[in-house]
Symmetry: C2
Subunit: 241 residues, 2 copies
């Protein structure tokens, strides 16, 4: 298996992903929220890359049972039902709903990678199951860190490094790129305490200052679910075999 | 002092650099070659971001004493006098010459950062002197890794990490971004042997396969010169106080 990591969506254009197996990570908070939502019975997530498109899609599509969710500068967007806190996506709120999701980094990273042959969603919450799933499939893997406003972000890279580490446990002969090796090195000092790492990141501090401290704890419940979210035909659904 | 690292030029647009003190790194090989050239008496380096512009500039400007240098896919460009190997930029070849330089990553990174208030060129060769110089100036510093085709590259990030480390020795209270912290962590396992690190990178392997093995050794002569290359008004010259 060849394993590569992209540290920001800006490092590659849309066509780069054609034919690839891509795993998108946005620990704070989009991919964590997607996993919470699907785990709590949401029918599907529709990631979009502009707020305008979110508004447009919400009008007619998906039989009316849609919810608009997302953030700008970490805060809920005016007129949207939900923000981007994983803790908002409770069973009561999301069960059987289609959720249209716009976020600064994560939803746009998913849309950027839409030409991938296989496109999966990962966070610390489903990481062990995701690693096992990827190993069983055996394809080369590109891990896409959503980053922060086009820049590097620590938590996504550390999470990517942990995924590389788990993939290499199953396939020690895997061929890893320099970026994958860097992610692996960056995961090491933090792998015993992801909450401390998150609390100390730029994004973690911002969320804390805006009252979203509990999101950090939610984001590092390592292996709390086995759900494998799969993007196909414009929506993300739980993999059902 | 605030210290930030950009892991790829694509992470920021040209206007991002306005008013900043920026240090560009392209260990393999542009910034290493620029430092060798100036150290060997080149009058100036004119970095360009397209081959067409290199051809155009070479025709009339700079009084005829110009040399075209650069590479595409690590190899010398047809019609150019020099490639991008630091070992080509000997005193005999470059003394008092203006060198127009086009390279895949480094020269373009310099041009991208051209609106910086202060713009310097760094490699392992001049790193200790550069750190000392930056500390004496006291400005916040943005370190720009040239990367490789828009992607992360290990050697530039490790070199950036070493620069962060030296800056922090002088100013332990410096405020560092997540990306600067990541570079710092990545430098650690390699700081005793940069040649091994270079030999093991994707770019190092490519250069070795094309017969440029000696360039790796030249690129990691740590602190071999005190030269501070400064970009101003379109050209890079040695800082003269």
């Amino acid at each position: 298996m060849k394993i590569h990591v992209l540290l920001s969506p800006l490092n590659a254009d849309e066509l780069y992903f054609t034919g690839k197996t891509t795993v998108v990570i946005d620990v704070l908070r989009a991919t964590t929220s997607i996993i919470y939502a699907l785990n709590n019975g949401a029918r599907e997530i529709i990631p979009v890359n502009t707020i305008e498109f979110a508004m447009k899609v919400s009008g007619n599509a998906f039989g009316g049972s849609t919810l608009l969710a997302g953030e700008r500068n970490a805060e809920k967007i005016d007129g949207f039902s939900l923000g981007n806190s994983p803790l908002e996506f409770t069973e009561e709120v999301v069960k059987n709903k289609s959720i249209i999701l716009y976020t600064t980094n994560g939803s746009r990273a998913v849309v950027r990678a839409k030409f991938s042959e296989n496109l999966y969603i990962c966070s610390f919450n489903n990481l062990p199951g995701m690693a096992e799933f990827l190993v069983s499939r055996g394809n080369d893997v590109t891990i896409l860190c959503s980053g922060w406003n086009g820049m590097f972000c620590m938590e996504d890279t550390v999470c990517a490094g942990r995924l590389v580490s788990e993939l290499m446990k199953a396939g020690p002969d895997s061929e890893i790129s320099d970026a994958a090796r860097a992610a692996l090195i960056l995961n090491k000092p933090f792998s015993e305490n992801y909450l401390d790492m998150l609390t100390d990141t730029e994004h973690g501090k911002l969320l804390k200052s805006k009252g979203f401290e509990d999101d950090l704890e939610a984001a590092c419940r390592f292996g709390s679910t086995d759900i494998i979210p799969v993007y196909s035909g414009g929506t993300i659904k739980a993999y059902s075999g």
